[in-house]
């Protein structure tokens, strides 16, 4: 709790400290990826269904906001933020039936459907010229904010999305939903056998997750003021979410946040050093492979394990480690408590 309070206070105060524009720009992307990675974590980390198509919903949100403001005017500059929940709702409505169909079988097929969805969405954005502007992209109205505080609204919008993602994660971890997701990841058939509403919980997690990602896409489109199919539906966006979640620790509250705070600045640095070109793709894929091979569980669970072992040695009969954050449940093979009744 203290940790969370300090984190929130620091992030809320950050724009007030008079940093340069590039710092705030970097922070906006860091918060965006932290929010999206946390959202991905709900499905990919907790339920164990690796979605490779979250970027499809990022693009959906971006294009929804883009298309909306082809027909509406921006006066105060805050209208795009006001319609964000609508973008989230549409993503959930689109995502729900797809998840319902794709999650009936195994996780492999789910991954296949989601990655296919991403490329289909990109192709549609290219081809439906009259709606999306095709390869020409969509121009957004220029935000009428004063230059000194130009980044502030975007920064706080992304921060709000991150805190919402984290709050939802925290609440689900402390409720039956989190337990159900844990049970699904550990052994879906057994979870079903003991009365977890497997399908409902999975699809709910997916819908909430893609709604958050679509809202991030909406803010992004407004901030960039231009939306192109190849950038809004970029597989790199999906990979970013997954990678950050894996680096920090799947199925933990803080894992995706730590992952984003390490990788986004690292990514920007790489893009700066390597000219943002193809070498950057190689470096990114290389980092991903290294994490998967060397630390597949991520930073937080690895550290937690070390601490637990050290404490166990220090006091051989000592109590189990306690912490204000519920113990990370990402380690495969740990005993996951399975709720005995029917989950809501």
């Amino acid at each position: 709790m203290v940790r969370g309070g300090v984190f929130v206070a620091a992030l809320v105060a950050l724009p007030l400290l008079g940093f340069e524009h590039w710092v705030l720009n970097l922070m906006i992307f860091t918060l965006m990826y932290a929010a999206m990675s946390s959202a991905w974590n709900l499905v990919g980390g907790f339920a164990g269904y690796p979605s490779l198509g979250h970027a499809a919903f990022f693009g959906l949100g971006a294009y929804f906001v883009g298309i909306w403001f082809q027909h509406h005017d921006v006066v105060t500059g805050y209208e795009p933020f006001v319609i964000l929940p609508l973008a989230g709702l549409i993503a959930a409505v689109v995502g729900f039936p797809i998840a319902w169909v794709a999650m009936r079988t195994r996780a492999d097929v789910f991954a296949i459907v989601t990655i296919t969805l991403l490329f289909v969405a990109q192709t549609l954005a290219f081809n439906l010229d009259s709606l999306t502007g095709g390869a020409q992209g969509l121009a957004m109205p220029t935000p009428p904010f004063e230059l000194a505080r130009f980044e502030w609204p975007f920064y706080y919008a992304m921060l709000w999305l991150l805190l919402t993602s984290m709050a939802l994660t925290y609440l689900s971890m402390r409720s039956k939903v989190g337990l159900s997701l844990d049970a699904i990841r550990a052994d879906e058939d057994k979870a079903l056998g003991v009365g977890v509403h497997v399908q409902g919980v999975k699809v709910l997690a997916f819908s909430v997750s893609v709604a958050l990602v679509a809202m991030a896409g909406g803010v992004w489109a407004y901030y960039e003021t231009f939306t192109y199919p190849q950038f809004a539906f970029d597989p790199i966006i999906t990979i970013g979410m997954v990678l950050m979640c894996f680096l920090g620790g799947r199925g933990t509250l803080w894992g995706p946040v730590i992952g984003a705070f390490i990788l986004v600045p690292g990514q920007q640095y790489l893009a700066y050093r390597l000219g943002g070109s193809q070498f950057y793709l190689i470096a990114y894929a290389g980092v991903f492979l290294l994490i998967m091979l060397l630390m597949p569980r991520g930073i937080l669970p690895t550290i937690a394990d070390r601490l637990r072992r050290r404490r166990a040695i220090a006091s051989s009969s000592g109590p189990p480690p306690s912490s204000d954050v519920p113990p990370p449940s990402s380690g495969a093979g740990t005993n996951v408590p399975v709720p005995s009744g029917g989950a809501a």
């Binding site: 289909v120 990979i239 070109s277 894929a285 998967m292």
Partner: protein
């Protein structure tokens, strides 16, 4: 012959001829799944890499892409084995299924990055002197390249069939697909089969890639389109079933071509996704897949 019927027949012919190439790519993909239970997201990137290899052999040394297929096949087989040994074998955890999926995605991005550094991102195509010639039979056009591609794919699939059904290695592969544990108990070295099987999957990508370069202009990003079509084919055929993949490739390719010629190319790239969703609603295990294990 009325216009629309003619377009329909032309679409079917085009679809079947193209379907052969897709069948070849997808058979490697489904084979890898059958053996290792890994959805290989790098299959599309391997195809594009093979296309670049034969493109370079053609433009730099003047070697015909059809003649260099044995060479690229050997190279890609080696690369496939290396990928399996370096990136997939070390994954031993219980959630290795999820991890290996993501690892193959990372390998695909690595290959994409490598290809765009070496060959840049402009579109390439292997323009042989027969690239644009075609025969016309009963008003239906048969492009020479597509006919050659179809015949070559049939030959490669035939060789694959012989390898799987007439050799000791093939028997070990089929045993592993049917029941890994029993296969191991009976003396099949599953690790070796996995490495060689991944190599074999990459080898089919090589043969298909040489032909792919003749048929379509491609760049390093082409593997994204390829992979989503391949995955739909593999799911329709039933994950792990080579025969299913071949039939599914013909179905998907023919329906895409018919939609493209009869309606519009815009929606043809949407066809396979609709097929994928329909399969999952109506018959989630695919045409020839089993719910529990793979069958060959």
């Amino acid at each position: 012959m009325t216009g629309s019927v003619h377009a329909l027949i032309q679409g079917v012919v085009l679809g079947i001829l193209t379907g052969g190439v897709y069948a070849l790519m997808a058979s490697g993909q489904t084979l890898i799944f059958g053996i290792m239970k890994v959805v290989n997201l790098a299959q599309g990137a391997l195809v594009v890499l093979a296309a670049y290899l034969s493109y370079t052999l053609f433009t730099s040394f003047g070697l015909d892409p059809l003649l260099t297929i044995p060479l690229t096949t050997v190279i890609m087989f080696g690369l496939g084995v290396v990928i399996q040994l370096v990136f997939l074998r070390p994954l031993k955890r219980e959630d290795s299924a999820q991890l290996s999926l993501l690892v193959t995605f990372a390998v695909a991005l690595l290959l994409e990055g490598f290809m765009s550094v070496v060959w840049k991102t402009t579109y390439r195509s292997t323009n042989t002197d027969y690239a644009n010639s075609s025969w016309t039979l009963l008003g239906i056009q048969f492009t020479v390249v597509r006919v050659i591609a179809f015949v070559l794919s049939l030959i490669a699939l035939g060789l694959l069939f012989l390898l799987l059904n007439r050799t000791k290695f093939g028997r070990a592969v089929r045993a592993t697909v049917q029941n890994p544990m029993s296969a191991e108990l009976l003396g099949v070295e599953s690790k070796r089969v996995a490495a060689l099987g991944f190599g074999l999957g990459a080898a089919t990508a090589a043969a298909a890639g040489s032909v792919y370069g003749l048929l379509y202009p491609f760049n390093s990003g082409s593997h994204y389109d390829l992979i989503s079509e391949l995955l739909s084919i593999v799911v329709l055929g039933g994950l792990g079933s080579v025969g299913g993949a071949v039939i599914a490739a013909l179905i998907v390719s023919t329906s895409s071509a018919v939609v493209a010629t009869v309606f519009s190319p815009t929606w043809s790239s949407f066809t396979f996704f609709v097929i994928l969703i329909l399969v999952l609603v109506l018959r989630p295990q695919g045409l020839y897949g089993t719910v529990e294990r793979g069958a060959l």
